[in-house]
Symmetry: C2
Subunit: 339 residues, 2 copies
DNA sequence: GTGAAAGCGCTAACAT
DNA sequence: ATGTTAGCGCTTTCAC
């Protein structure tokens, strides 16, 4: 591998001069600069970023840990983060934690070793507190993305699960629904917890009672979906007339299960969910959703980290407002009985 | 940041001894080891991978450059590569080139600087030859993924576009189609070129003529799709009764366009494509496809790179066989006229 | 405008 | 079993 020494020798200057040329410093005479540039060309020299990083004590690299790149929501978020990072002269290291604490910890450890400049983390759950502690401890700037962690105050870029769910549930109530079910993810994940809480709170605020049999736990991952929901076995009079799914993948599974039960969306049972469902473009979006802007959230997280790199005290907390998209899956309830 | 010196001082040993403990070398007495481990615990020391890399002259990191992480085909491929890389003790650096040569080149340059151990590249097109040359020149192991480059013999992991297309077109002919259209991507991309060539070859092999008006160029990207296909304006007697799309996103757009024209799939016009279309799970897959195994391809590419790292002469060329999935979008042709 | 020396954090190659 | 020396490729500091 050709080094700065090879260039120095060929150009008949010191390594310092080569370094100055590489880093575009002013104080190099035009002749010398050209001589050096020629040598660089000739030997195809590329400065060793590792050596530069060791010396400068920064990597010009940010890490993004997501729970599942397979979810379009996170794919978009990743694109946002990558584009913004590159724009600012940083590279992005992407890691999939699969919502697995052990994997998350092991990634964080590796990143600490790499002296990454900053970490954006979609925490696997409240247990991610450990990961956060080691980052904080090591003085590595970090920001939580999409999810918070119970009992910790730190930089984060999230959506607004409470407000989003409130809008969703209120919309269903306004459409005439009284028995609304909720399928959430494990409650150690802040968004799942908040969506569940806001669901209950909104029911109560409307004078409706909370029926525990209508609340079911599933997972955010597509591959971990169950396909039996106990509330579908209930007596017709008790069965829910609408269901809220805590994310797009849960909604996806729900739609399939309902189809298997020969239930027609909206007529037999209304469906609404958090985040957009990825549909082939020939299908007009028909699902009522509350959506968040994943691309912008990814971008914002990078900005947030870079500000913290400049000023470690700059703890940013940004919450993106959700948008309610009312579509045909929640048409006005006609009181039709369930199948 | 705590260094190996801090540990050495606290444990009252030399840095070398600390290094030995870190690297799990045998020749350290149990007592010393424990003393050192204690110090490491106490100070929360994490070895600086950058310094290790500089010294060892390897990064334990592989790079994967894909054209579009947004395409589920590449998302899966990325997962395959990441999982395999991690299993082998490597990290994966992910880059999106957006099928843009300039972006690709700039990434490659950055990677050269980082002294990445190996590069897996989905080339943007035949112009990627430049990128490849600089990698080869620098002696960095690399392998092409999914696509080849015209006029270069190198390590690669691909599918079999020719055979896949042959199966697809032959299937359509066997179903009774005689006028089959093809929508391909730009022809500087090997898969697009091969799919187009194999399409023509298969027609000829069956004694059918090639009608240039039935061949249209589009893009592999979802966002770059056109929505007007000239062949849909043709006289009923000349219009194609079946269309082959060179990838999933083209098929997606095609389905939408056909729906806009009120054409029913299979009855009015048959549709088949390369790679699977991502559908919500409540929709039974209905599109006839030739699929390739992206996850396995990603895994294989990592293996391929690692073998090259061990033995730089080990040029691997692996071609995954495609699988034809016959579904209802290409039922037997009834000779029904186009709408 | 240019260069020599020292050091970033770590480890291979020698000592002892 | 443990320590010393030197150096990975680069840049900062301080001379000239």
């Amino acid at each position: 591998m050709v080094t700065i020494y090879d260039i120095a020798k060929l150009a008949n200057v010191s390594t310092m001069t080569v370094s100055r040329v590489i880093n575009q410093k002013k104080n190099v005479s035009k002749e010398t600069r050209e001589k050096v540039e020629q040598a660089i060309q000739e030997l195809n020299y590329v400065p060793n970023t590792i050596a530069q990083s060791l010396q400068a004590n920064r990597m010009k690299t940010l890490a993004l840990l997501v729970t599942d790149i397979t979810n379009p929501f996170f794919t978009q978020m990743t694109r946002g983060a990558e584009d913004e990072a590159n724009k600012q002269g940083y590279q992005l290291l992407l890691c999939n934690t699969d919502e697995n604490i052990a994997k998350e910890k092991s990634y964080i450890l590796a990143l600490l070793g790499k002296r990454i400049d900053g970490v954006m983390l979609v925490p696997s759950g409240d247990e991610s507190l450990d990961s956060i502690s080691s980052l904080r401890q090591a003085g590595v700037p970090f920001t939580l993305l999409d999810r918070n962690i119970r009992g910790i105050e730190c930089s984060h870029v999230t959506g607004d699960s409470k407000e989003g769910t409130r809008q969703l549930v209120q919309h269903l109530i306004d459409q005439g629904h009284r028995r609304i079910a909720m399928i959430h993810a494990p409650l150690n994940i802040s968004t799942s917890r908040e969506r569940n809480e806001a669901y209950k709170a909104t029911l109560r605020a409307n004078g409706l009672s909370v029926d525990k049999r209508l609340i079911v736990e599933s997972h955010y991952h597509l591959s971990k979906q169950s396909n039996t929901w106990s509330f579908l076995q209930m007596e017709p009079a008790e069965r829910p007339t609408a269901v809220v799914a805590a994310n797009n993948f849960i909604a996806d599974q729900l739609l399939k299960t309902l189809a298997d039960h020969d239930l027609t969306i909206s007529e037999d049972i209304a469906v609404a969910c958090f985040d957009e469902l990825l549909l082939p473009s020939y299908i007009e979006p028909f699902l009522t959703t509350v959506s968040q802007p994943p691309y912008a959230m990814g971008q914002r997280a990078v900005e947030c980290i870079l500000e913290q790199i400049k000023d470690p005290e700059a703890v940013q907390q940004e919450q993106f407002k959700p948008t309610l998209h009312v579509r045909r899956s929640t048409n006005e309830w006609r009181g039709a009985p369930l199948a």
